[in-house]
Symmetry: none
Subunit: 209 residues, 4 copies
């Protein structure tokens, strides 16, 4: 076999590749992988269908490259939080603030979130990407929490659990709006549960009083 996928070296070519990724990722996020075809992608990117296969192995490849570029921003907004003044007192506020923002983010790219989440569960490449990413993010947060004097006991696991709790909550709020459900209360419940995961903060702060 020959290597048929080339790396573009010229500036224009690089821009073209990026346009294809953007177009492809966008469309797949909006309409779903199986409802997006390469011609649409080419059209939206303003290129010919043929050229796509110079830069990408196949349709799937386009999506994966898009994911590697945009995935973090869409799915791990927590990385953008300013944790510089994380403390016992501020934790709940930061948490609530983040949840609010996360929900806003979700709302903006509601469909994209769902389509990608679907792929996480049906496409092993996508699953692996998120699996890996989650671990990285968890570790990153762990370092931050550690540096703010959170107890190291099972911290990795706790943060992971925290992330999944937040995810569940946001998803619930965005997609399952039901009149009989009080989402403010639900948020309170989850926030409380998350805070409960880190009794270390309290202790430390209590003892420091």
């Amino acid at each position: 076999m020959e290597e048929t996928v080339r790396k573009p070296v010229q500036k224009r070519a690089i821009l073209k590749k990026e346009k294809i990724i953007q177009a492809g990722f966008d469309l797949i996020c909006q309409k779903g992988y199986y409802h997006t075809n390469t011609r649409e992608i080419a059209d939206k990117a303003g290129v010919s269908t043929g050229i796509i296969y110079q830069y990408f192995k196949d349709k799937h490849d386009i999506f994966m490259e898009g994911l590697s570029i945009y995935g973090e921003e869409i799915f791990f907004p927590i990385l953008k939080i300013d944790f510089s003044n994380l403390s016992f007192d501020s934790f709940e506020n930061i948490l609530r603030q983040f949840i609010l923002e996360d929900i806003q983010d979700h709302k903006l790219s509601k469909i994209a979130h769902e389509e990608i989440t679907a792929m996480i569960h049906s496409d092993s490449d996508v699953a692996n990407y998120f699996y890996q990413k989650e671990l990285e993010v968890t570790e990153e947060l762990r370092q931050i929490f550690l540096s703010h004097h959170f107890s190291d006991d099972d911290l990795f696991e706790k943060i992971h659990v925290m992330l999944s709790f937040i995810d569940s909550l946001c998803h619930e709020i965005i997609y399952h709006q039901h009149e009989n459900m009080n989402y403010d209360k639900m948020t309170d419940i989850v926030v409380k549960a998350i805070i409960g995961l880190f009794p270390g903060i309290k202790k430390k702060n209590i003892t420091s009083i």
Copy 2:
């Protein structure tokens, strides 16, 4: 247009319809909706492709009927739990027991779980089914919890949160096996968090002493 879908009346035909549902649901669960074609379903069910469209509107319809039959068992095993001796002391055990069993269930139909979960996020009919089902299950559990003297404060929301916590945990354990993660600890963390959602039990029991 005419109504083209018919209900089979003969015994053998009813069995055949069930076979189609089974075959279709099975295949879609194993290979995914888009990777399963009608001919495969027909072959596996031992029928001709034509007969499928006498009993079902389309491929999607087969899956939905399968979901309505098997969905509950696969996705809401909690309904099978014997809550007759639910109490402050027993709650944690019941919970842990259930989690273990749930994980076993998940393992048995690992791929099915993933494929269906994918569809929840990409197919609105499937989403609606689960959305509705979740509310029903939540309410059912709420009644049970109430009858066992759990506090009614935000009970609906709390149970819903509990369910999503359990789901997250099980999913995590089944699909994200990672060497650096201690899943026993994670289970402990989540169980504790869930118990923490229901302080009423403790109080009640404590005060009743």
Copy 3:
């Protein structure tokens, strides 16, 4: 080959056959031959699909039998005209009266007319039926006209032409309604042309004065 189509002898069976013909002919007239399937016919007739092939060779056969029953009434309403007082003075009135009625008939079964006309041009069996029928009707009218002292010169041809003129006119009026076209004037023109076909009437009457 065996003879597989049976003639029903029992009363109930005859009624059943008639119901099938009625249902089939109706549906085909309303939706077109290719957009009507045997199951619909069976459903509308209140019988099973299987029984159809006891009474008819195939779908086409149903239509042809329907045509032989209902065709005359739909397509040759001129046969119902009372020509008893046909004469020079009455001819135009009878003609105009008939045209008005024909248009009403057309309007009632507008779609049927079109669908069958389509088949006349695409199905040789249907074409032959009408070909034959037209000749019969022409001859029948010729006898009537003769008995009312119309000149025998080319009478067969003239009546045939008359019939086709009437047909064209009615079709025009029913289906081609156009704002720039004055259909009353068009009717006058055609009526005049038809009367002009039979100068014999005038002469006879003129000389008899």
Copy 4:
């Protein structure tokens, strides 16, 4: 949905599109719309089935494009007549000449005529095409007749009637050949009737003498 039909830009592609139209129109005209399938069209055009849907919305679209190209020539040969020396004396000759030629034309594309006529009566797009075309042709002829001093009284209607008379006659002669019918006489009858529609010619010419 996206616009999926494209215009070919390359020369060869344009030729190919034309080939598809030709093949499709031909086949449909010979075998009927419902007895022509896309594979046959592709085969006859020497292309793959896929390419068809790059240039056409569907099978129907192919036929409509064919109709817009060939329809006029097949169904309105009257447009090719040289009316430059139209006058009282020449009218009958021109008419007879045209009828002869029209019959020849009909004979050449006998089946096509019938199949398309069938579609006029069963396909509303085709019906509309002819409806519109007829009005245009009628108007065009009206202008010509006017410029040759025909009386303007109901001229539009008269020409329309004339066209339908000619149509009926030709159709009759081509498809209904019957031994007991004298078609020469029938032609005479119709020609006379048509001439009778335009008494203005005579008068004008007579008075101008």
